[in-house]
Amino acid sequence: MEFTLKFKDLNEKREIPNDDYTIKDLLNELELSAQTVVSKQNGELVIEDTVIQEDDEIQLVQIIYGG
């Protein structure tokens, strides 16, 4: 089971490691704070509690930069 992650220059396929794998879990893995990014699932804005499904395209947009 895979999904596509788009973040900055990144555009890659990633494994869905377990059931109920949410965007929040993904953010934790990438060491990104939910405070600094917004997430889109298949082009639509969603909250971080959203469960990632097979073949989803998850796009993360960093909206806050330090400094």
């Binding site: 917004v38 909250i47 806050i64 930069y65 400094g67």
Partner: protein
């Protein structure tokens, strides 16, 4: 999961401080209503104002422009914008281009002022100097001077900046922690100018958290420049911001209460702490200044330009 306002199942935001869930349309509406409420409550606008937006092309200034444009469409105010090009390679140009496109889209008067053209030096060049005082010191002072001047040249009666809730709370805490009571008196929704030469500054977004502004521009598909300045570095502001954000995780209303608390004591602070305005003039450029030279000109003298 459903939008707390309209029942739409496509929720895009959960407000931590209230538990409220919002769909895209209700979220956008909530941000616009909030900013408009601040404008009304703090009396930021007077009918017939010409408001100059300090437009960097980033999320905060683009949102400010968007909100104020609704007042322009109701014929309450006129709008214009200024963009400062500090001369930061691989960074500023994108913001300048985006600012130009927004001004064109709305059909408003827009001016781009570059440090190079006005002062003969770019921020990049200043940073090559061995004894520089740190990028943000110059950036802030020159930007303020340029925006004040632009306001006079364009006949603006107000200057609007994109300061959000996070900026404002950082400012309150930083100045408090540093014991800088003079700067503490200068925060707030609206600066009451002491000299006629200084145009009144307003902050329509000061009650909106930074993250909500970021989500707003993405939800509204507004073109903005999301990037970090190459000179952005560990600063005291950054450290304070980190602490506040950490506290906010367990105490989601803390930014609001800090702001409210400040607003309550501001009147007393101003009465007790505000320094008398110095009525002098800068010898070099004629801007109002407490000393012989204004801050911008004293930097220019030091830099030998």
């Amino acid at each position: 999961m459903q939008c707390s306002q309209c029942g739409n199942s496509k929720v895009i935001y959960k407000r931590e401080q209230s538990g409220q869930l919002l769909c895209k349309d209700c979220f956008i509406e909530s941000i616009e209503k909030k900013a408009i409420k601040t404008v009304r409550k703090e009396k930021l606008l007077d009918k017939g104002d010409k408001v100059l937006v300090a437009l960097s092309g980033g999320k905060d200034s683009v949102t400010t422009l968007e909100i104020l444009n609704s007042f322009r469409e109701m014929n309450v105010i006129d709008l214009c914008a200024v963009t400062v090009d500090e001369g930061i390679a691989n960074y500023r140009q994108d913001g300048v281009d985006i600012a130009k496109r927004h001004a064109e889209r709305l059909g408003i008067e827009h001016k781009v002022v570059s440090l190079k053209e006005d002062y003969g030096i770019t921020l990049d060049e200043i940073m090559q100097r061995p004894n520089h005082k740190g990028s943000c010191t110059y950036c802030g002072v020159f930007r303020r001077t340029i925006i004040n001047k632009a306001a006079r040249e364009m006949g603006a009666t107000k200057i609007a900046t994109g300061h959000n809730l996070d900026d404002e709370v950082q400012g309150i805490m930083m100045n408090y922690l540093e014991g800088n009571t003079d700067n503490l008196t200068k925060l707030g929704a609206k600066t009451e100018s002491q000299a006629e030469e200084f145009t009144v500054k307003i902050k329509p977004l000061r009650e909106i958290p930074e993250r909500e502004i970021g989500l707003y521009v993405v939800a509204k598909e507004l073109e903005v420049h999301f990037d970090s300045c190459p000179y952005a570095m560990q600063s005291f502001r950054g450290e304070v911001s980190e602490v506040i954000n950490q506290l906010a995780e367990k105490h989601p209303t803390i930014k609001y209460s800090t702001l409210r608390g400040y607003d309550k004591i501001k009147g007393v602070l101003k009465k007790e702490m505000q320094k008398e305005y110095a009525h002098g003039r800068c010898k070099r450029c004629g801007e109002p200044s407490a000393n012989d030279l204004c801050k911008a000109c004293s930097f220019l003298e030091e830099l030998g330009v």
